[in-house]
Symmetry: C2
Subunit: 560 residues, 2 copies
């Protein structure tokens, strides 16, 4: 049974060792947990549904509460405190494309809004019903989870859009294939959700982001059904797939997703390296990417994260041994851990790893073999569970992510970490902040920053702390050349920052597409565009986007 | 001086050896050339410009004729015969973004249409002015050809959109970088044109298609200037870059293009292999791609093309030697030539080539070393010049290209070739047809088919022959699972076939975008969408796309 107000199945806990909590208490002070409300209690307070009955729709209050919020920190606070402002008026469980088309029609009759719901794992408010005159119908895609077609020659597979990570892999691996998309939310998130939010998996360096994996599919819209054919490549006008990717439910409901798949790799390994400092680690990653070494993962922890991982590990004997090796080889304070993944044909993996080691040696890297990599692989989906462990100990934890060019990667990290560390100064609260690069590209990389802080004495105080932290770090991101999101999407939480990433003309173009497909704004109108943006829309006359120029300016070397 | 009615600079000719023309005459009969009209003669007949004077606009009749047509076979016939229905009313030569914005404003005042013009190398009618009440202003981008910014850390370069292939490479190579985009039109085509038509270079397997290389830039539209920031990756809503890619001039005029660049490869080589038959060659390519061997080119000629190349070569001594080797090693009739490129770090290239040889051996491939590859590299941009040589000998030559999944690649090639071979049966004319795979993907490949036929006794008869050939092969493409274009674009010539590739909902979405950015339809309204498609546009109510279902159906294995 999935926990209604936390991550994962009941009984799947990942306790932290005693010394880890001491380490945290030393850094930011002892934590005091907050009391939680029971599902039964919340459910009794839910307002009556404003929807009529429908054979596909469940209006049970408990079900409605369970589908009300995602997994942002604010969502957790809402669920744990029971202060859930809005729950959907019903949850539909379509079992076919026809069911979806029927629900779209019914939504017009009912004058209600619709929220497509995959795994409910959004961390930016995508699937949260909004207050308003119209009822909200959440559409769970959970019953559209089958492999529908498999083209083994062309490596194409068609799935129902509600297929979760484990369901995708189980159905493909039975035939000897893999999708290779492993985001941290893998256990619950779905194909449709990945596409709608432009998800990126841990091994995207090898398999590609969902943009690369998404080959086509069907989108059910108020204008009719829309089929994207899976050509390997084409020059037949604008690529509409790229408008469905990241559409965050605003254009229609994805019913079927066609993906590019791979044969199961014959070999796979994850290695751990340590660089003497951040600059050396960055340079090695940059060079590996720019030389196109065919790796499947690069994951570089900055010094604070490297130390935190070493200190929090439950294998302290092994760590002491590792510590000796690292100090002996010159990787002392300031060292950075790099995880390297290779997947595919054995000879190719060996050659790629050999080349990576060559670069690593040049930058003073210390190779510690596969132990750390194996440990990482075993626990690759564990972090969301640790949020609950920390919560029980009285700590809040959240993450924020962005991407930028290599030129800005260092200044952006510093700005983000500084913003978070100082955000609660007025409250005299310390924040433990650490960062890693989760995804590398030839042009730049993502930054994934974790921040741990103490829960307040009340839910309101805790929410205020989190809001200060989030606002401070988002401001740092957009003023230091980062995108509003690298792999979590825009949703409600990032939409006011979107104009720093996409200029006014692009927002207008997206708005025009939304208006075309969903003229009555029933589909997730809260996502993506800044509030009230649509009323800015004009169809004639030039407009200036100069007021954003300070944000948009790129500090590249100008050739004289 | 660039030839006005043919490819390339005057004096750059590529004569075919005598025996090659005999070979052709044996296959399809002797050719009889048609008489050509002089530029001076055509220019005197040009109607007066309907545009007012403007400091940026040249209204000289000779200039207007030179900018009137591209390089489709029909364009050549128009220029060689002098029967050019429409020439632009003027040609503008902007030198800055401001100039472009000024021209957009002036176009509204003049009530004229605009055609952005890069290298004029379109083969599907993109840059041809259309008859109508409005004057047409062609906007040559030739003076926007500078490297504007270079970020050596992040491998990003910003260019004026009118920069041609040689200008791009010269400016980048001076700093040790390359774009790696080498379409056959390289010598004249431009960055802006590549982006607007979704171009693909000969080494796209290594460097990526223009979609991969296009990182951002500026589009000047009637709604204002639109800036696409070059983030390495992001999940910040729909990717509007992918709507500019393939927009074929309909949304605005690209002024600046930011591209992902690479360091100049330290090693590069092209090898020639021969497979006993087409199936073996296909299987080897498919496996190389699906195993992600990091090659920079794979180019597989079907048997007819392989034989044609061997017979047409001007190195018949070497060919005789090669012939002996091939026969001895079992590659006889039906053999297929594969060109393999590797580019990058030496060790990586050697390893990739080693892996490719392993696959090749498995499928009976014969490695003939680098001679054929070097020959190909030396003449990589020669084919457009051969069109003139054949023209002078009384033959017409054209090419058609598409892409499809591996599952359909064989049936599609057969259908295309059969359609072309039989298209002129009623005229009792033979057509020499041969095909290669120019670009490979894990999911499928492109097909590039060349057809040679005899010119008719008049221009009208010749045009009719070409039209029959083109119609027959396009019909074969869309009914056998091919996309309307893999790298030439849609333009005028393919737009009626577009509904087989993109369904009604997608065409409507593109139409909505065009209407948003260009409400008065001044920008290349002839390109991309089927004629009169815009009037089909409705904004409410579901519509069926079922009438296209026979075309859209994919014949993949359905999982029970």
């Amino acid at each position: 049974m999935q926990r209604w107000n936390s991550w994962g199945e009941a009984g799947h806990d990942y306790p932290l060792p005693e010394h880890a909590l001491h380490y945290l208490a030393d850094l930011i002070g002892p934590g005091y947990p907050l009391e939680e409300v029971l599902l039964e209690t919340v459910s009794t307070k839910v307002a009556e549904s404003r929807l009529a009955n429908h054979s596909l729709v469940n209006k049970d209050p408990e079900v409605r509460v369970c589908y009300a919020r995602g997994h942002s920190f604010a969502d957790w606070l809402a669920k744990k405190s029971g202060q859930i402002e809005m729950v959907p008026d019903g949850v539909a469980f379509p079992e076919s494309r026809d069911d979806i088309l029927q629900l779209l029609e019914w939504a017009e009759q009912m004058d209600c809004n619709l929220i497509p719901y995959g795994g409910g794992t959004s961390v930016v408010g995508h699937i949260n019903p909004q207050a308003g005159a119209r009822p909200t119908l959440t559409v769970s895609m959970s019953r559209l989870s089958q492999l529908l077609a498999l083209d083994k020659e062309s490596l194409l597979a068609t799935f129902g859009a509600g297929t979760t990570g484990p369901q995708v892999e189980a159905q493909l691996q039975a035939h000897g294939f893999t999708l290779g998309h492993f985001p941290q939310s893998f256990e619950y998130s779905t194909l449709g959700g990945w596409v709608a939010t432009r998800s990126s998996g841990q091994q995207s360096l090898g398999y590609g982001r969902i943009e690369t994996l998404f080959a086509g599919g069907r989108l059910e819209t108020f204008q009719g059904s829309y089929y994207l054919r899976p050509f390997p490549a084409e020059s037949a006008g604008p690529d509409l797939k790229e408008c469905v990717l990241g559409s965050e439910g605003r254009l229609g409901i994805l019913s079927e997703v066609i993906v590019n798949i791979s044969r199961l790799p014959r070999f796979e390994a994850f290695y751990g390296l340590f660089f003497p400092d951040w600059q050396a680690g960055i340079a090695a990653c940059q060079q590996a990417l720019q030389q196109r070494i065919p790796l499947s993962m690069l994951r570089l922890s900055a010094p604070e994260e490297t130390e935190t991982f070493l200190r929090l590990s439950d294998k302290q004997n092994a760590i002491r041994w590792l510590e000796k090796l690292l100090v002996m080889r010159g990787a002392k304070a300031g060292r950075c851990q790099l995880l390297v993944g290779v997947s595919g044909e054995k000879a190719q993996c060996h050659h790629a790893w050999k080349q990576l080691r060559r670069i690593s040696r040049f930058y003073g890297g210390v190779n510690t073999g596969q132990l750390i990599g194996q440990q990482w692989q075993r626990h690759r989906y564990r972090n969301p569970y640790l949020r609950e462990t920390l919560w029980q100990a009285g700590y809040g934890v959240d993450t924020v992510e962005t991407a930028t060019q290599w030129l800005h990667i260092d200044s952006l990290r510093q700005a983000m970490e500084q913003a978070l560390r100082s955000a609660l100064h007025d409250d005299a609260e310390q924040v433990h902040v650490f960062t890693h690069i989760s995804h590398c590209y030839a042009q730049g990389a993502s930054l994934y920053t974790t921040f741990v802080f103490r829960l307040g004495e009340t839910y309101d105080i805790t929410l205020a702390r989190w809001q200060k932290l989030k606002a401070a770090v988002m401001q740092a991101i957009v003023t230091h050349g980062g995108t509003v999101s690298h792999h979590h999407g825009v949703g409600v939480d990032h939409r006011t920052f979107l104009p720093s990433t996409k200029d006014e003309q692009q927002l207008k173009a997206i708005s025009a597409l939304c208006q075309h497909f969903d003229p009555n704004a029933r589909l997730c109108a809260h996502n993506l565009l800044p509030p009230n943006f649509d009323i800015l829309l004009t169809t004639t006359g030039p407009t200036a986007s100069d007021d954003l120029s300070h944000v948009l300016k790129d500090t590249t070397d100008v050739v004289a």
